[in-house]
Symmetry: D2
């Protein structure tokens, strides 16, 4: 099993944990915790989200791109373009 592959259950588990972390951030703000600690926690949530994103990218390349490429090279290319555009959005977010 690949380093970035995630099963559907894994995605949901990870996203539930991220949801809990975002609720934790609200509590940190409510409790007026030190802003640098909140910032550190934001970096950690961002990194967790990026991890989910990398899993989806792995999936897209492993399945969607491949299946499309088997249909026709042009269909494969279209999926590659979508993936690269998605990575560009991740990089710039």
């Amino acid at each position: 099993m690949a380093g970035y592959s995630i099963t559907k259950d894994d995605y949901v588990k990870r996203l539930r944990r991220i949801e809990g972390q975002v609720r934790g951030l609200q509590k940190m703000i409510d409790d007026e915790q030190y802003c640098i600690n909140v910032l550190t926690q934001i970096s950690s949530v961002t990194r967790a989200l990026q991890g989910v994103g990398l899993g989806l990218l792995d999936e897209h390349m492993r399945h969607c791109v491949r299946e499309a490429a088997e249909e026709s090279p042009a269909a494969g290319d279209a999926k590659v373009e979508e993936a690269v555009a998605a990575v560009a959005r991740l990089l710039r977010s």
Copy 2:
């Protein structure tokens, strides 16, 4: 009012919206939506989190750094270092 300044209420509102977006991501996975669409939504949540982070950084620099610097230059420097280290973590997350 500065471009990145956020009030406490604003932070909580933004984080609630982000929490809702993360729940939306779980639903997208559950519904087996197209992975590129989920990825695009992840970029949008990441950007929203970074926006909260920039607000906290603004606050830290506007208040914590300044108050510490009024105490002593060394205290001010320590707060600056904390802020730059926090930005480094944001950049690398």
Copy 3:
């Protein structure tokens, strides 16, 4: 032609421009220009480098992944993993 595809000549042209921008940064520091202006220029060079990276990623997915996948699914998967790991490094740099 795809949005992120770059020819070999294009890569070299882009990298020469980036090299010139990095020399420009040295001159900005030498001339003691305002640090925020130097920072803005650094963002612009970083973005240009990421653009080259996205071009390479496009190429990798369009050619290396596909050719490897035609050999064997396992070879294709290995190339996908390499690509996702490279995106992870880009995101965290």
Copy 4:
């Protein structure tokens, strides 16, 4: 001396090394080296540039913000805003 502080000489040395790395990237493309290796090197150059950017941010906060704040709170706030906007550009590049 703070973790991210850099002297003027250090900036120039770092930027010269980055310039050399960008020339190295051109050679990698010319030699048609494996795209993932070029991508890895791009991440390393990006990280080196971000390091220079963090040094400049440290300097801005340590000197420009403080001196402006001594003049007037409004002048200090204006410098903080510039800094946060610069971090936003770094994050999105």
